[in-house]
Symmetry: D2
Subunit: 341 residues, 4 copies
């Protein structure tokens, strides 16, 4: 059994790790931390976990956690993960960081997140960007930078067009218009998550300058814009990718389908759809559903992707990465259909 | 492997059986019928099931289904189940009927459902009312009448008070005020399920004469009233039981807690809560969460129960019954925490 | 034009007063206070009010407000209103208090709200409980204690049965099971109003001991219990009144209809429904919709009432009271149909 | 008083006309038709209209309706309006058609709507496209083609950039990504409007070929693409306009603000926002709220518009047009703030 520790187990990302790891046949949760709830039974704070976990929340003691864990998931805010990584790795523990701290190059990180990177060995650590379908090298990594929720759905939607053999160089620009459930904003109540503010509404925010665009640009190497919105749903991100193609790049429905099939061959969590995906089919799952339409007499292809932001867009993908790091099938513990209706 | 057939696999109850049985380690789904979709791949009609099931929907051929199945689940409308039961049982196949056809005594059924019972051996069949926690004899049954969704939550809420040792005879009256998600009304669009009619609303219906009250009266043998409402949620039934106690029956918090604990000892899907339950903790699960408060200077105890109407209130409970019928642990295939948030 | 001041204009109750008074043909808003937003344009803080109001939020200066207002609405928390009332009334300004401070007798208030009443002339002031339909004396009042949201819907639902000529003494007990939109919990984000906690859920709270029960008992003088729940809606309270009748009190559908019609004759905001009401028809309006069903072979009548908690359950009723205090038709400024769908 | 008739008064558009015209001080509703409900009291079918309207639904008798009305609103499906227009206009009655029948040139209409236009005088009639803010000539029109809901929000969002003095010719392409409440799909239940299908979901549809794009292209004369989605809300359309500017067209925040202000000067239902609009502020109103952000180092400007699809996107705009046709202030009967929260 793999012993897995979770630092930051009271937020939505941490709790989703707990929920999913509890069902994983090869994993035993060794420790879950929460400064706020230390000493309390996890299932008292989160009654849906009763009686599946006996552990109490603990305070953070990095060294001890390293000793008790084969792998540690960091489900802490941006800027905090880099406090733990050096010590954990020094003890030989593998790490999957769900924050942004190891996703971007140092200078890019500091520019985008407006803070200094405190890990002096940041660049040496060879962290792998854990978008599993594009980065098979996660299997050999000791440190995974788990992707942001928006970039996961966005990059997966268009990677075959941008990076597939025939698509190379033919995509001139992509605009991602994303719609997210509010759980992406976290477990803390705020004006944004206040029910009367969100119900019967849809709220655009950071429509030209959301930090996640940096990951999309890093991975796609093409002109990318990104505009997020919050919708009155708990889970899910639907990304509408408006892809603009060079004139010489016009392709048929069949050719594009073929491109996607080839690109994602063997990737079990990608489901290419005949129609257009929506959030309900992926609720609670690690799937990324993808569909597209070609606009007639236009340079535009519309690709839609749907993920559960807390699973494929976060904790599920982290476990998918863990599976590969430990030589297991990527589906282990994650292979179930969504909660429909 | 147990071979399980599902007659009526396109409605919500049938689909939930499919979803749950696909995750059951000891079951293989042998056949799923749908007159409307016969010949179509189940996962084409229900994309969330891709790629978990290869079967196509079939037309109903009762005999053949009996041959191919160790157990058959009937997820058909009231009045239809009794068309299949005689033939299935004649072939020695066990049956779990999720309709109302075998829940009540013949005369009571005919009075409440306003139709004649067509199975001439109805009373001989010894169907067991499949409220597992109250009826351990499900383990020996060949025909289970799976309870209605409302009765499941209602009866479980108050059974210990009504039937527990100390409680016997002291409850004088119960009013169940239930609030249900709309999935209980089925997969067919209707005025009731039309989003603009239900969102930002709550709709009381059949507030004095819902048919499910007959099951509650049968099981509780006490004066029972029942008033259901539909709330703007997909899943779940929260039942607020207003329990009126004889003056001589006054009890303390501790005594009542003790009564519940004793009554439900070893029943793994009952979770007694310190506070009051709500729907979110049981979403997607087979749990029934129960909590209560005693009103001061009054004859009233308020007991709240929460279930997922499609799982504990339907398909999950059916599988729990199947588990016991086949000598397995009741938790097999059903032991996972809810989808929170 | 009546000059109306609002103390506490940033919460939902205060904002609803602003919204409604802006449409009132005989009223001019003279001052709106908010400690938090003083100096800011009201329509900058609340963009839906642009360009209907030019005023800025002001700090509270009770004397000055009295000078500038013919009537002052107190939309402040319980315990604060009594700080303003003495000074406002000393200056001859009429007051409608939307808090609980003047609803109950002193000792009852202090017992229920667990605080001392600071207004030494509390009992002398002859405040009128502003449930307009039951208290025509609001027309002559200088101080109105505007009812709580739950009591408004609950009391109106059953008053004809309890207090109507034929009904007198025949109701033995009432249980109010109420379902409220979350706006009743106020404009401040909290765990309760956090979208992922409330969506797809329904949350019972204070199920035996909510403070509002005191108002219901005061007005109805019959055995009353009360159990509230929050539903995933912004506005509205649906109250399901389970009314238990003495055996000798059995009545027919027609008799009860007649009782209601007679009791509410001329009360323009009460709509007696043939079927059962739901929240959507009253959304944004001052109506209280009422319907009922008699349970066969039982002592129970189920009466359902539906109100908009912020209008009839709060600010609308306050304006209805103001209309009568100033000799106007009760409908002035409030006579419009609901926002359907 | 203006006598207004409504043909098609049982759908959402017709009912919204009724609701709004009932509050209009200069209008008397003369007749409302519904084949389905003829002979029934309008307020029996729609209880939220009780007691505001005494009329019954009538069958359609075009000539008689013309006699009894100064203006007739056609709230009928596409393809039906052209059956009524010739006869109504022959009788001298003015017409506002809320269907698509008179919005486009004949050939364009027949191509897009895949049916023949039956009005042989279609092109002679000089119908005016009733997007009031862009077409002051509505004031002199006898036949108004009221715009589609999506085009209203989309065109208003970008018209100043495309058609404003400085903007002329500098916009090279616009992609409208729209999110609509489900009431746009009508009052008839369907799979799309089925609560379990829409709640916790967002559904893209006709993402490259929705018919409404034809109106956008007609009015904007620039390269336009359009992708709609349905969100789990009753009302509202939020349109995210991704506007691509020629390099030479780069402008500052102030310049663009100035362009919008100048373009919409005196247009009382356009509210230019400092931040980004969302649906809640326009709920139930005739406003179109607009805000924008310029993406740094890019050719993209993001403009967001928010409307209530049934008011500014339909019936409210129709009344705004009527106001101008009859020489009134455009605000008459429509000047009130939104229902917030």
């Amino acid at each position: 059994m793999i012993k897995a520790g979770i630092i930051g187990g009271a937020g939505y990302t941490g709790l989703e790790l707990v929920r999913l790891l509890l069902m994983h046949p090869e994993v035993e949760i060794s420790v879950v931390t929460s400064r706020r709830y230390k000493g309390k039974k996890i299932s008292d704070v989160n009654p849906h976990l009763e009686p599946f976990i006996e552990l109490e929340y603990e305070d953070v003691d990095t060294k001890e956690i390293a000793d008790r864990s084969d792998i540690v998931f960091l489900a802490v805010p941006h800027g905090s993960a880099m406090d733990y990584v050096p010590e954990l790795m020094a003890k030989g523990t593998r790490v999957i960081d769900l924050s942004a701290d190891y996703r971007l190059k140092k200078e890019e990180y500091e520019r985008i997140y407006k803070r200094q990177h405190k890990d002096k060995d940041k660049e040496k650590r060879k962290s792998v960007y854990g978008l599993t379908e594009l980065h098979p090298e996660v299997a050999d990594a000791d440190l995974i930078a788990n992707p942001g929720c928006y970039p996961t759905g966005a990059i997966l939607a268009v990677a075959p067009l941008v990076k597939g053999n025939e698509g190379g160089g033919r995509v001139k620009q992509v605009v991602f218009d994303s719609k997210s459930g509010i759980s992406g904003a976290g477990a803390e109540p705020s004006d944004k998550s206040h029910f009367p503010n969100l119900a019967e509404n849809i709220v655009p925010y950071e429509v030209t300058a959301h930090r996640h665009v940096a990951e999309m640009r890093m991975e796609l190497s093409v002109k990318v814009s990104f505009t997020p919105h919050v919708i009155p749903s708990i889970r899910g991100i639907l990304t509408t990718a408006h892809v603009f193609i060079e004139e010489s790049g016009a392709k048929t429905q069949d050719e594009i389908e073929e491109t996607y099939k080839r690109f994602y061959e063997g990737k079990r969590f990608i489901r290419l759809r005949k129609g257009l995906p929506s959030l309900s089919s992926v609720r609670g799952t690690n799937f990324c559903d993808i569909g597209f339409e070609i606009e007639e007499e236009s340079d535009r292809i519309v690709v839609i992707s749907a993920i559960d932001n807390l699973v494929k867009g976060g904790s599920g993908q982290a476990i998918q990465n863990m599976n590969l790091m430990f030589g297991m099938d990527e589906r282990e513990g994650l292979w179930f259909p969504g909660l429909v209706p």
